[in-house]
């Protein structure tokens, strides 16, 4: 039966297109990674294997500075947005529908719907006024902006986890005279933990990768790794950019693989 279905489902040429698409999807990234190990200056001619670009990137003080700043922002934004998203998910999932619930849901998903450039410009205008009024120029603006657009990324996996959770366990705890807080700490939270970790990782990756909003919100001298890379790309192409990109890609893939393993449905 199954084999007959598959024959009927085969459409000529589709598999070929799909394979070409997969190759095209990975080829540019693979080239970028390969040439980060090039001994020569070229991005097209192979001169032998070397770690020179990684060594140069490692010794580059500017790279160190922007990397630390990126990690500080992504770490803060992921933490703040995950806490806020967890609370919001608890309030809007598995509950009797209440007035304004849809409004909260729309607000949380708003960053996914508005083009980044529009949010970026709006934040530039808003923060410029605050900078003039208060004189504060610090990282707070970037952390606030990142925390806001990371909320939907943290919220969705947590909500998905909550929806799949067994309500009876919490009822059982309540039946055994556990206080609501005790039930939350000892039953809900441990069950929810994989969703929270997954949401936090997604938020971290999203913050770490952001270019557009950071570019418009940052004050002078507040480059993050992506905005620094953008400036380098416009100046010249060296293997150093490839080396940094490769490390960033590797980090993302590791986090995402963990994310998939955490959220995978047990069959």
């Amino acid at each position: 039966m199954a084999s007959r279905t598959f024959t009927a489902s085969r459409l000529p040429g589709f598999a070929t297109v799909a394979i070409v698409v997969f190759i095209a999807l990975y080829m540019p990234i693979a080239m970028l990674m390969i040439y980060s190990f090039n001994a020569g200056d070229s991005i097209a001619i192979w001169d032998g294997f070397s770690f020179q670009w990684y060594e140069r990137a490692w010794e580059n003080e500017k790279v160190k500075e922007v990397t630390i700043r990126s990690l500080v922002i992504a770490g803060s934004a992921a933490t703040i947005s995950t806490v806020a998203a967890t609370m919001a998910a608890l309030a809007t999932t598995r509950k009797k529908p209440f007035r304004g619930q849809t409004g909260i849901y729309v607000a949380i998903n708003q960053p996914l719907m508005v083009p980044e450039i529009v949010t970026a410009v709006a934040l530039l205008i808003f923060f410029a006024a605050i900078k003039v009024a208060t004189g504060y120029q610090g990282l707070g603006y970037l952390i606030l902006a990142h925390s806001a657009f990371c909320i939907p990324f943290a919220y969705l996996p947590i909500r998905a986890r909550l929806e799949g959770m067994d309500l009876t366990l919490e009822t059982a705890a309540a039946d055994l005279y556990a206080t609501p807080w005790w039930t939350f700490r000892r039953v809900t939270l441990p069950l929810l933990a994989p969703g929270i970790v997954a949401g936090m990782m997604l938020a971290f990756v999203t913050s770490l990768d952001d270019v557009v909003i950071t570019l418009f919100v940052k004050s002078a001298g507040q480059d993050t790794l992506p905005t620094y890379l953008l400036a380098q790309i416009r100046r010249q192409v060296t293997g150093e950019v490839n080396a940094i990109s490769t490390v960033l890609l590797a980090l993302t893939v590791i986090l995402l693989t963990t994310f998939f393993l955490l959220t995978r449905k047990r069959s």
């Binding site: 279905t5 589709f14 297109v17 540019p28 919001a88 719907m113 450039i117 990756v205």
Partner: protein, 302 residues
Amino acid sequence: MRETEATREAAQVRRNWLLSLPALLLLAAGAIGPLFIMLIYSFLTPGKYGNVEWIFSLDAWRGILFTRDIFDETLKLADAHLTIFWRSVRLSFLTTVFTFVVGFPTAWFIATRPPRWRAFWLFLITIPFWTNLLIRTFAINQIIRNEGFLNTFLIKIGVISEPLNLLYTDLAVFLGMTYVYLPLMVLPLYAAIERFDHRLLEAGYDLYASRLAVLRRIIFPTVKPGIIAGSILVFIPSLGAYVTPRILGGGRNMMIGNFIDLQFGQGRNWPLGASLSVMLLVVVTAALLIYVRFANRDRGHG
């Protein structure tokens, strides 16, 4: 008894709002609120050195389509602006169509794999989607630039003698956007195809339908929600694209996003930047609303 139930429910609702409050405050300050301030700025006068002067003016809204002649103050259609809008819409449309043309066979391929393997193929599509857009665009830049891999390779095998000037063209932006937004087309298409009842195909073939007829009369109509979702998901970020046209289109082949950016840099016209942003937001929201209506209607039929 009844009253206590009502109060308990009211307390529950209050607690739900309280729990949602931190997220709502963050979003209000860091995403939604500033949009309203931007709307106000679109009705102000540009300051000499950037920023604004608090004088009411409709110039920014007029300025989207018209320019004032320097000499006689008459209004003319702003050709440069129209060129940028047209390029944005055309490139976004082409990107949407092309991602569908290559994305549909890909989604079909994944959906017809044995179930155990589907997760693996899906993962392969998802990984590029979550990896840094800047780096993916930069990878394309490296491939197609004059001293890049493509030109070096083509010259080496003797197909061309001079490098093709691919970088900083509309074609480069189109290729780049297709590359970075393709997963957004494949994922909703896959979701629709996976639910597709493959017995319908056998029924079609049993009734002597050709492969093309099966595709057009059975497959496309049934997976239409996926097609619409994918198209909207690709079209919206394409229209608002900033990074890809900046890295692959250079300074001359601007799209709306880069044009907005320009108003806050050299252009020194914040109100125009604000009005353009509001316009982009309205177009994108309209596209989303159309999508939601379609999605709901289709659900109603199912």
